[in-house]
Every structure is written in structure tokens, then in C-alpha cells.
Symmetry: C2
Subunit: 470 residues, 2 copies
């Protein structure tokens, strides 16, 4: 603020412009607007105002009018004018308890390259197609779409999802058992509240989800993970097990068919629940997608999904496909009167799915992710052939295995290269003891869908430079 001035014409707003074009005294209108802006805190103490010539031009009024208004406000004590410092808002004008500007700390210097998983390149959002769906949805929506609605979410969206999930993920359900929520994190909060007890979670998984469960009073125990996915044979008396069967997160393998059957058996025998986080089931590259575990027993498996990976995490739309006996409790926990997800966005997504735009977008992104994965694999084969890449058959990330004990050093080297990336240690369950066990491994989780197109080659280069030599 020391060297430039505030855009006052904008701060004062459209109303002032209107008033200035009216028949009243322009000086008086401007003075009132300025006083009001200072009083309300919109103009903070110390803010530098534009030179009067400049403001006069912006507002389309005479320079003298602005000069007079400034002078009077200085006389009244609202502004100060000092040689070489321009006109500023006085430090002591607001009534008791002035609003001080919150000093938000500067963001930490941004890394040049970002390979942190879980954030699909935001420039890929299909703006035009989304807007077309929004237009159709808002034009065609019944009036009741703008009033309080079904606490499970808009029927149009639940219908569309039931069809889509049946077709693409083999899910067996009907719209009455789908509850729209704000995302998988929201789903987990609600399930923690309704199901409670102790849950088994994969030894490697999102720390964000674990933290959220602990915060909601659910204790988690770690289930070891190997190349066939979570070792569900070690399940005991847990109330539920949280799994990522399509593509173990983050280590990357699909759950072995035998284990898929075994976990459903466990649920039937023990009365437990399988919670299936289907976070990237649509993105499989080398063979047909593995269907959802949910289809093996819709009465014992909850499937959770969202558009966060496929479209954008900012839409805040996810879903839970529930066993019948859970629907009412989940709706009660969510709040009968709280939809959480905007109805207009829900209707837009319903149109997006039904019109085929979602399929087209997913197909386009699948090709793009696959190309990026191939590029990652090729670059590593050339520049770091000693580094094994795993978990590449699906998803938006891969795991680079590192020699034991080197993970921290590689992360530091990456930071030096201006590269943000995460290590496997970030994902390990705290109750899963580090040790000679082979699951306690060193590695990088590389989110290849994250960078914008133009930055991807540079990110891969930085990655290779951070890797240990052979």
C-alpha cells in the first residue's frame, strides 16, 4: 500500500456512480461516500487515495470537485495529506474498536512444480459443457428445486447416479438408497456418527480421513497392505472396514478377487460393514475396470464416491450408496433440513451425467491421465531405470519405490528442485510400526494429474533430478 493507491472508484461502488450522475452536489455525494467507506472499514486507516486527477477521470467529474472534497475531509479529520505521501485515510477516525486489517501471512513461497496427488489439474474443468448443463438444468427445473427438498438430495441426481454407477461400476442399487453429500470426507463423518465403534483402515491411506475419523470418535486399527491390497483375513471384531478396493490408496493395487469375496464374507459373518471408497474407479488404463465390491452384497457394503477427482473438488458433490437399513439414520445424521450440496449444482450434474457429457469428460481425462502416466514411466525408464514404479494400472498417481531409509532425503532434494511431492511415510497409519516388515517401505507418491499441461515435463525433470543415483 506504500507505493500504490486504492482503486477508489471501485471501492465506492456502483451506487455512488449513480448518485454522481444525478442532480445533487457531486462534492457532497463524494464526501458522503468517502466518509461512509472510512466509517464502514472498507477504506482502512492509512490507505492511500488516488491523486485527485486520477479519481476525477475515473468518476467522470471535475478535478476541482475531487480536490475540494479531499480538502474538506482533511479539515474534518477523515483524511490526512502529507507532502510526498499523498492523501491517506487518517489513522484515528473510526469509532471505538476500529477494524484493523487482518494481516494474513503471505503464503509460503509456492513450489515451481506440484506432483502432490489428489488435485486434478483445475485447468481441465469442462467449463463450456458444465455451463450448458447448468443452463438446461436451471431452465427446466421445477419450481420446487429452489425450495427445501428431499434430504437425500435431488431425485434427478440420484436417478442419474443410480444409472451411471450401475453401468460403469456395476453398482446394484436404486435412487432411494443413494444419499447425496458434500464429498467422501462428509460421508465418512456421517458414517462415523451412525456406525461408530472401532474401524479397520488400510495401513496406508489418507491421513486426512484418519484424522477425521479420530475426531469423530472412531478408533482406527491398521490393516497391513501388500500387493494384493489390504490383508482382510486379519479383520477381527471391528465394526467396519474402510477400503479402497479399485486401486489401493496410495500403494496402487486392486484388491485381489479372493479378498473381495473374503471381506464380504467377513461382513456377513461378523455383522460388520464394508466401506468402499471408490475414489478413482473410473480411471483404469490397461484393462476393464474392476467392478465395485458393493455389487457383491449391497446389504453389507457402503459405496462412497464423488466428482472431486473426475471433475473438480470444488463442486462439493459426493454420494453414498447405502444398505437399506442405514438410509434413515444417515439422513438423520446429515440433517433433514440441511442439503449441504447446492440443488442447482445437483441438477446441473444430473444433466451432465444424463446427457453423456460426464462420460465424454471422463474419457478425455482418462486419455490424458494415461498419456501422463506413460510419460512418467518412459522418463523414469530412461533417466532412473533403477527406480521401480508401481500402482500404475489406474488412478491419478503412481508410487516410486525408494531404497530403504532414503525417502526423507529425496523429499528434501525435491524441495530444492522446487518440486512439491509426498512420501509414503505421510500416508502410513501411526499405529503401524515401522520395522523390517516389507509394508514399511520408502517411496514417493507422484500425482501425475496435478500439474497443468505446460508444466508437466518440467515437473518430471525436477523429479528425476531429486531421485537417488543408481
Amino acid at each position: 500500500m506504500a507505493d500504490s493507491w486504492v482503486n477508489l472508484a471501485e471501492t465506492l461502488g456502483a451506487d455512488l456512480h449513480l448518485e454522481l450522475s444525478g442532480s445533487g452536489s457531486r462534492r457532497a455525494v463524494l464526501m458522503r461516500g468517502l466518509r461512509e467507506a472510512v466509517r464502514s472499514g472498507r477504506l482502512a486507516p492509512g490507505t492511500r487515495l488516488p491523486p485527485y486527477r486520477s479519481l476525477a477521470a475515473d468518476l467522470g467529474i471535475a478535478r476541482n470537485t475531487v480536490a475540494d472534497a479531499y480538502a474538506e475531509l482533511v479539515a474534518e479529520g477523515w483524511l490526512t495529506a502529507r507532502q510526498g505521501s499523498g492523501t491517506r485515510v487518517a489513522e484515528q477516525v473510526a469509532p471505538a474498536a476500529p477494524v484493523r486489517r487482518r494481516h494474513t501471512p503471505d503464503r509460503a513461497a509456492r513450489p515451481t512444480y506440484d506432483l502432490v496427488q489428489g488435485k486434478p489439474d483445475p485447468s481441465a474443468f469442462p467449463r463450456a459443457a458444465w455451463l450448458a448443463s447448468a443452463r438446461r438444468a436451471l431452465t427446466g427445473a421445477p419450481n420446487d428445486a429452489f425450495g427445501p427438498g428431499d434430504p437425500r438430495g435431488r431425485a434427478e441426481l440420484r436417478e442419474a447416479l443410480a444409472g451411471y454407477l450401475a453401468r460403469v461400476r456395476g453398482v446394484r442399487t436404486e435412487p432411494g438408497r443413494i444419499v447425496v453429500c458434500s464429498g467422501v470426507a462428509h460421508a465418512l463423518r456421517l458414517l462415523a456418527q451412525v456406525v461408530g465403534g472401532r474401524w479397520a483402515v488400510e495401513a496406508y491411506g489418507l491421513p486426512f480421513h484418519r484424522g477425521l475419523l479420530t475426531g469423530a470418535g472412531v478408533a482406527t486399527v491398521a490393516l497391513p497392505v501388500d500387493q494384493d491390497g489390504a490383508r482382510v483375513g486379519e479383520l477381527a471384531k471391528e465394526r467396519a472396514v474402510l477400503l479402497t478396493p479399485a486401486h489401493q490408496f496410495p500403494t496402487g493395487g486392486p484388491l485381489h478377487p479372493g479378498r473381495r469375496a473374503a471381506v464380504v464374507d467377513w461382513a456377513r459373518t461378523s455383522g460388520g460393514l464394508v466401506l468402499e471408497d471408490d475414489y478413482d474407479g473410473e480411471f483404469r488404463y490397461d484393462r476393464r475396470p474392476v467392478g465395485a465390491v458393493q455389487s457383491l452384497d449391497p446389504g453389507r457394503v457402503v459405496l462412497m464416491g464423488s466428482v472431486s477427482k473426475s471433475l473438480s473438488p470444488t463442486l462439493r458433490i459426493g454420494w453414498m450408496v447405502l444398505p437399506e437399513q442405514l438410509v434413515d439414520d444417515i439422513v438423520a445424521a446429515k440433517g433433514e433440513r440441511e442439503q449441504w450440496s447446492s440443488a442447482t449444482e445437483q441438477l446441473t450434474l444430473a444433466d451432465f451425467v444424463v446427457s453423456g457429457a460426464y462420460d465424454r469428460h471422463v474419457r478425455r481425462m482418462r486419455q490424458r491421465h494415461r498419456r501422463r502416466r506413460d510419460q512418467l514411466v518412459a522418463v523414469l525408464a530412461e533417466r532412473a531405470p533403477h527406480v521401480r514404479v508401481t500402482g500404475i494400472a489406474a488412478g491419478l498417481h503412481a508410487v516410486l519405490d525408494l531404497p530403504p531409509g532414503t525417502e526423507r532425503a529425496v523429499l528434501k532434494a525435491a524441495a530444492w528442485q522446487g518440486l512439491a511431492v509426498e512420501g509414503l511415510a505421510d500416508y502410513r497409519h501411526p499405529g503401524f510400526p515401522a520395522g523390517p516388515d516389507k509394508e514399511d517401505r520408502d517411496g514417493l507418491v507422484v500425482g501425475y494429474a496435478t500439474p497443468p499441461e505446460h508444466a508437466y515435463a518440467g515437473a518430471l525433470d525436477a523429479l528425476c533430478r531429486a531421485l537417488p543415483p543408481a
Copy 2:
């Protein structure tokens, strides 16, 4: 389902249509599509299929092809064909644990007229203007709008709200202290978590909010309400007080200026917080709006608002204007990684506010609500002059005072007239003893903004017929 058949062409979806237009065997494609639809549960057991002539016409294929496919699927056991009952999905084809259709109970018969407060007529939603804002917002948004963002909400919206609230409600703040949330209920949940302790609430208020606080572990004590609003002089050691100063909800008066000052004094002296639910501050009819209490001390008052009353409760956008020292804790409670409100909706609302469309909409709605209020007052003056109407200077509802002991009977009479309306008893704090105290009064809370235009006169007529005779 007994008398009509399913729209099979639609159920089978666009993919099947594409395949049918390809070069493969149409019979085989259709059979595969049908099997898949049954297996996935999209076609529930017992569902009646269309006659083959009809499906053939819908799909643009030969009748014989459909007839053959049906016959083979009957032979395979997927379908059944019985004289007089048409072709249906067999009852026993799905693998173990078939999905049964959830029998959602029919909604209770809807009342003919609805004067329940809190639900602005959904047909008034400004679809065209909202879409225009959505188009501008989505076209102009930076790419990062579709990635994870500021946990306080989009900067564009917080800027727009800071300006709007300063101009319209006299709020003193800056964007860094505004946190976007999903609505006032969400704000209360977050505040309950962060502030905790025991809160004073108005003796009349939303039971939904009280329940939500209790659920979040906050005990509430009732503060009596008279014609000058809540009796804040009776505040004691509570951690916070939840007030509706602009228009006491639901009894209807603004908080007396002396009490506005007193409650801020209480907060300063006791270290407590004033939580200002500014739910309808924009809708005042007979004189200038009372500014927000927040402006008296931005360091001790939290202002909460939303677009639920002014635009639509389904957008799920609200805001909290916070004292600086609460911002970080509230953001942490909300979840750094959970935006809750869609970024595209936030950007759309920002454009809607900045472009002046919000002002225009509020002005239009204010005129409409005022006209309805005047109509209510006029009709009562003519047909029930003995009934006193109060709380009419602002808001979207009024209170009709009833003779002591008659409230229940009037509500019953209203139900007989097909009219949904609520009594004051629904809003009374359970800890506020019924008795000879004048605050324990009988009355109706009449939401005059609720019905669509065409139904308003009928609703008023039903209301008058339910009122007790003079």
C-alpha cells in the same frame, strides 16, 4: 407398475442405442443390455416390460428382433411371460441378496395452502439473472477456482460480501474476517464447537437451531422476550448470546437501541460473545433498516447471514463475519480441506452481488413481501378485526395474537381448512415455563412469503376461516 410398463428404451440408455446402430447382432446387443439391466438392479424383479411392438418402435429395430430377444430371455429365466400380465422381469434372477426396491412411504397428503414461515416462494428464484451471473463467473474464473481453494471461501465472494454488508447492513469488516459456510445452521455448529460453554438464546426462536446446539454439546438458557426484543439485562455468565436483533424471530420486534448497547457492554465486560443471526435484515418495510449490532463492536459480535431467505435455501451459501481472534479456530473447525459451498456457486453469487442483480432481486422481493404483508393486514382488518397482528415491520412473517388457550384449537381448525401454519408454542424454549407471564402467549406464526402468488388469496381465506370468532 401393475398397469403400465417401464420406459425400457430409456432405461437401457444411450450406449445401447449406439450399439444397436452398429453392425453387430441387434438381438444379441438387446439381450446383453437387458441381462445387464436386470443384473445391475436397474430393472427390478417384477418390472413389466413394454410390448415388443412398442419397444421395437422406440429403438428403431424390427419387431421380430425384440420378440426373439424376449423369448430367449424367458427361456434363460431372466424374464417371465404370462397371459394377460405381459413380459416381466423374473422374481429370482439376481445373484445373492437381490436389491429390493425401497418402499419410500408416500408423503403425507400435502396441505392445500402453506403459510409455514421460512420458505420463500421458490417460484420467485431469479433463474435468468442467476444463469447470466453463472455464465460470467464460470467464463471469467481463474483456473484455480476449480482446485482446492482458500478454506475461508472464494476471495471474490468475501470481497463482494464485505462491500455489500457494509453498504446495506452497516457491517464493519474486511474480507479476511469473513468465512463462507453452508448457512446459518452450519455457522452455529461451527461456533458451538469453537466457543462451547453455555449460551443464552431468545425464549422464542427456531427449535431447529436449539436442537442443533444441544446436539453439539451447548446448553441453552432462555432469555425472555418482550416488545423491545430479548431482555439482555438478564444475561449472566453465559459464554455467548444468540440474538435476532433486526427482527426478533419469530415475535417480530427489533432489539431496542438501549438493549443493543447493553448487550455489547455485557460482551465487553464479561468476555462473552454476541452471535447476531441477521436472517432477514434486508426485508424492512416501513423505515430504514436497523444496522447490524456487529457495527457497534466487530471484536465482540459475530454476524451470521445467508441467501436462504433472500434467494433460495438450496444454494447452501451463508457467511460468518468474525472477530479476528476467532477466524483461525473457525476455519480449523470447518476443515481446511472442506469448502462445503461449491466454488462455482460462490463465484456466481459474487458476480450476482457485484453486478447489482442481488440488489435488484432483494428490492423486487421486498416490494412483493410488503404487498403480501399489506394484504394480510387488510384481510384481517376486514374479516377478523379482533385479532392483533404484530411483528409486521420487517421480515417474511407476522405473528397473529390469539386469546390465551386457543392456539391448539386454531391450528386444528387450520388443518381442517387444508392450511399448514405454525403456532408460537413450536418456537418456545422448553426451559421457558408456561405460565401467567405475558411472554407465554398464544399466537400463529404466519409466513406470508411462502405461497406462490396464485395461492396467496386462498391461503388468507383459509386462515381467516380458521381464526376464532370475536
